[in-house]
């Protein structure tokens, strides 16, 4: 085995190898969070289904009846769920990963492991929630006899994209949260605000109709837009895929991820000292 060298400010050469060695920890931490969430609850795992189900019903009513989001030929709940699934995944991931380091402060200050494991594994938990909601979507497909298309095959990469879209800002905020605890008050605000400026309750093509193409491109700077548009396209393909917007979102996601990761790694060394 190679010698381990500990030095000040050294670029961690073995960083990714270490991360690979601790790969099981991703799973174990996610497993712990899932177990703990439903421990000592009256209806246990039913919550995992009930929570997204209730949110879906509420949002269907609000966005369908009140905001009049309708596309001819697409059942309302499917339309809503297509936007809601990625949004829920994104927003929950963002808030969970942002609080993850502080919530695991006792681990950080007593044991070495790549710190990146903590926020990432909190995303894994949300992935599980996402799959449960996704099964609900499939049930709706059967219920409404709505046809599946080959676009469905693009869902897995879109899920990965949603994961990365949440990871970038998540890493940045969790690192900030270690130093400045008041960032935890910022998250709910971002999430609420984000719901309104993301195409959850309406279609992005509405932006093009009202304000033109340039606005649509600007709108796509919101990384969630690309993910949600992608989901809509894969689940209920009524409109052609809007490539320019997607590329913009993709670039923003990439930039945020690079910046978040870089910031996290820079701050990581001092976590144990300031947490």
């Amino acid at each position: 085995m190679a010698k381990l060298i500990i030095e000040a400010g050294q670029a961690r050469k073995h960083y990714w190898r270490d991360l690979w060695r601790y790969r099981e920890l991703f799973y174990f931490l996610a497993w712990r969070d899932l177990l703990v969430r439903y421990r000592q609850t009256a209806i246990g795992l039913t919550w995992a289904i009930l929570r997204p189900l209730l949110t879906m019903i509420v949002l269907t009513v609000i966005f369908g009846r009140v905001a009049k989001l309708t596309v001819p030929g697409v059942p309302q709940p499917i339309l809503v769920l297509a936007g809601m699934l990625p949004w829920q995944f994104f927003s929950n991931s963002l808030s969970d990963s942002s609080n993850s380091l502080v919530a695991n402060a006792n681990l950080i200050s007593k044991i070495y492991f790549p710190r990146l494991v903590v926020p990432t594994s909190s995303l894994l938990v949300n992935l599980v929630d996402f799959f449960i909601s996704f099964v609900m979507l499939l049930v709706l497909f059967v219920w409404y006899h709505y046809p599946l298309t080959w676009h469905f095959l693009f869902l897995p990469p879109l899920v990965v994209l949603g994961f990365l879209a949440a990871l970038g800002p998540g890493l940045f905020i969790t690192a900030l949260n270690v130093k400045y605890r008041d960032f935890k008050y910022v998250i709910p605000f971002i999430v609420q605000f984000g719901l309104l400026v993301s195409p959850v309750g309406f279609s992005s093509s509405l932006v093009t109709e009202r304000w033109g193409v340039l606005c649509r491109l600007l709108y796509s700077l919101n990384p969630v837009v690309g993910v949600i548009d992608g989901f809509r396209w894969a689940i209920c393909p009524k409109e052609p895929f809007y490539w320019p917007g997607f590329v913009v979102s993709l670039a923003v996601i990439g930039l945020m991820l690079a910046y978040g990761l870089n910031y996290f790694r820079r701050m990581e060394r001092a976590f144990a000292d300031i947490i």
């Binding site: 085995m1 010698k3 381990l4 060298i5 500990i6 030095e7 000040a8 400010g9 060695r21 601790y22 099981e24 920890l25 174990f28 497993w31 712990r32 177990l35 703990v36 421990r39 000592q40 006792n106 681990l107 950080i108 200050s109 007593k110 044991i111 070495y112 492991f113 900030l176 130093k179 400045y180 605890r181 008041d182 960032f183 060394r269 001092a270 144990a272 000292d273 300031i274």
Partner: protein, 426 residues
């Protein structure tokens, strides 16, 4: 492959200590608020904080200064020193939890560190689940944990409660299970902080036995921190004494321990008032310990069997009464407590401390034989520990006449045990 598994070279670690200059920060708030940074930036956007201002608001504290040593394969290294000497910081650097400021460490082999028993245990999870979780956090793979699962459970003696959430465990069971997981790691290098201070005596023995086996039979290297000098003496082959972040002594365990005891006594010369390595909230602090004879004269040496008065001078931070105080002083030698003199043992009325003053503790017949002892004064107020200074005073006892006929302990028995008034009949 070389025989040196750990080499530490001129290791330094500094922390910045913030003083509470910033207005509006609540006492006890450790971290900086983003809103504070923001208000600072808004209220004076173009003013860079002056260097003096920054320097005044924070102070550099060197937790480790130029620490260098080497550990060979199969060594058991004991790290000793007073509180605040840098032991824990050293272990944190070695186990990669925190980065050094300067210097270099080379480690050859897989390291596992146990700085706290049961880190990562989740109270809601069962014993079984926690074994897997804790194992993974400590760096074991799932297969490895599965393979050793039965062994871990048997060692911890918790078979019956495997499917009970650990929040329902007794603290003893909790500690046993936690230690057991760590003990079954198979690292080449094991770093252990004062974790055996918890748990019952029998289990402590078992743990020590396990650690001894690990080092002797498997040739593993252990770095061990403890305040229990007996344990260090019996377990460790080499010792390092840290003081103020620097290496004070390095070598065979018994020599290092002797050096430590000496340094505890020389701490007396520093003066209690200026000692930095104290524990407690610090609202009440000891400033001096005096020894007086039965006539109230100051003495350097106490006489066995004679009256001794220990005068503890104190000072309170704020000029307000601190209620429900408890003051005690204990006498130690060779890591053993000889006796505890505590206000609550003999007085039932309330003790209130305010401002400056002193308390006298009168021992009518000093039950100690000839030798060097050191004193640990302690004070708490409303159950909050205010001050504890280890080795704050040296108590040199010379031969006296405890038994009233001029005879003393036989040679070789000096400084061992307390003197007990007794009689024989035949």
């Amino acid at each position: 492959m070389s025989d040196t598994v750990i080499s530490v070279d001129q290791l330094c670690k500094s922390y910045w200590i913030k003083h509470q200059l910033q207005s509006g920060r609540k006492q006890g708030q450790q971290y900086e608020r983003f809103s504070e940074v923001l208000t600072r930036a808004i209220s004076a956007p173009f003013r860079r904080r002056k260097a003096e201002e920054v320097a005044a608001s924070r102070e550099e504290f060197w937790a480790l200064k130029d620490v260098s040593f080497e550990v060979k394969r199969g060594d058991v290294l004991g790290v000793i020193g007073r509180n605040g000497a840098g032991k824990s910081t050293l272990l944190k650097v070695l186990s990669r939890i925190t980065e050094p400021t300067t210097g270099r460490v080379e480690i050859d082999g897989r390291v596992a560190s146990l700085l706290e028993v049961g880190t990562g245990f989740h109270p809601e999870l069962t014993g079984r689940e926690n074994v897997f979780l804790n194992g993974a956090i400590l760096g074991m793979s799932r297969m490895e944990i599965k393979r050793k699962f039965d062994e871990i459970v048997a060692f911890a003696e918790v078979e019956k409660f495997l499917d009970t959430p650990v929040k329902r465990y007794s603290s003893g069971m909790y500690v046993r299970l936690a230690f057991s997981v760590a003990a079954h790691l198979e690292p080449e290098i094991l770093i252990v902080d004062e974790v055996l201070a918890v748990g019952d005596a029998q289990f402590q023995k078992k743990c020590l036995g396990k650690m001894r086996d690990v080092s002797r039979n498997d040739g593993r290297t252990i770095i061990f921190v403890s305040h229990n000098l007996h344990v260090v003496q019996s377990l460790c082959s080499k010792g390092v004494l840290l003081a103020g972040g620097a290496v004070q002594a390095l070598g065979p365990t018994s020599e290092v321990i002797a050096g430590y005891l000496k340094s505890l006594q020389s701490g007396f010369k520093i003066g209690v008032e200026h000692r930095q390595d104290r524990q407690g909230a610090g609202d009440i602090q000891f400033t001096e310990i005096e020894m007086l004879d039965q006539y109230g004269h100051r003495i350097e040496n106490a006489i066995s069997g004679q009256q001794l008065t220990l005068r503890l001078h104190y000072r309170t931070k704020a000029d307000q009464p601190y209620r429900n105080c408890r003051v005690s002083v204990s006498a130690h030698a060779n890591g053993v407590v000889y006796f505890l003199l505590s206000t609550e043992l003999v007085r039932s009325d309330e003790l209130v401390l305010q401002g400056r003053g002193h308390l006298d503790c009168i021992v009518p017949e000093l039950p100690l034989s000839r030798g060097e002892y050191y004193l640990n004064p302690f004070v708490e107020s409303n159950k909050v520990v205010q001050d504890l200074v280890e080795g704050a005073g040296q108590l040199s006892v010379v031969d006296g006449d405890f038994y009233g006929h001029g005879r003393n302990y036989p040679p070789g028995w000096e400084g061992i045990g307390v003197l007990v008034r007794h009689d024989w009949k035949w």
